[in-house]
């Protein structure tokens, strides 16, 4: 099953993203052309999935630092306070107006994408794994870029 996932994984463009995800991309690129590492290819899906999980955690940790240091105040939006906020975000029904709400909504979308990738991995579906991997990677990168879009780190969070 894992070998089936390999081809679409390698076909993915892995350029330009968070540092952790770039590491995974570099790994995949290097393995594609090196016969000596053929034996390691069976672990590529695990490494890719682990890279996404790690990338998400980096983005989430940065968001936590932003909230806990006061760079971004908690959201005042009513929808954010709802228990089903993330379901609303995924369904496109949530309304967010402040910076805290925007970060929370992006976290919902990123975590949802990671969850979809997990399901595809568990199901052994190569096609949907490739698609959900790409989507999760995109959203994790977007979440990180909101926090550090130009290398100035948390100082960018409070700007609108």
């Amino acid at each position: 099953m894992k070998k089936l996932m390999l081809a679409p994984m390698l076909a993915l463009s892995l350029a330009g993203c968070t540092e952790a995800l770039s590491l995974v991309g570099g790994l995949a690129g290097g393995m594609a052309g090196n016969p000596a590492t053929v034996a390691d290819r069976t672990t590529l899906d695990e490494r890719a999935a682990l890279g996404i999980e790690t990338g998400y955690q980096v983005a989430a940790q940065l968001a936590l630092v932003a909230f806990q240091t006061g760079f971004v105040p908690p959201s005042q939006d009513a929808d954010v306070q709802r228990d089903n906020f993330c379901e609303m975000v995924v369904a496109g029904l949530a309304v967010v107006t402040d910076r805290g709400g925007q970060i929370a909504a992006l976290d919902c979308r990123a975590h949802h994408a990671v969850t979809m990738m997990r399901r595809a991995y568990d199901a052994g579906n190569a096609t949907s794994f490739a698609v959900t991997f790409a989507e999760a990677r995109r959203l994790v990168a977007e979440m990180t870029s909101i926090i550090a879009p130009d290398g100035n780190g948390l100082l960018n969070i409070g700007r609108n």
Binding site: E46, E53, T54, A60, V65, Q68
Partner: protein, 69 residues
């Protein structure tokens, strides 16, 4: 704002940053697992299971923080 208030804010910020260090150290270790050579598939699957649980915890914490909890 006087000097003492600024110093208190700086100290508070330093403590806050320090509180996050273990989390970033854990992430660094996780990245090393991703890129490190010689990991078996079983080892990676085990690391992946742990990472999933941590991601879910982080998601909950971010949502709680956004809600001001």
């Amino acid at each position: 704002m006087d000097i003492a208030a600024i110093a208190r804010m700086a100290l508070s910020a330093a403590k806050m940053a320090g509180a996050h260090l273990p989390a970033f150290q854990s992430l660094a270790s996780q990245i090393a697992t991703v890129v490190g050579p010689g990991r078996t598939q079983d080892e990676l699957k085990s690391a992946l299971a742990d990472a999933r649980a941590r991601s879910d915890q982080m998601h909950k914490r971010v949502q709680d923080a956004a809600k001001g909890r």
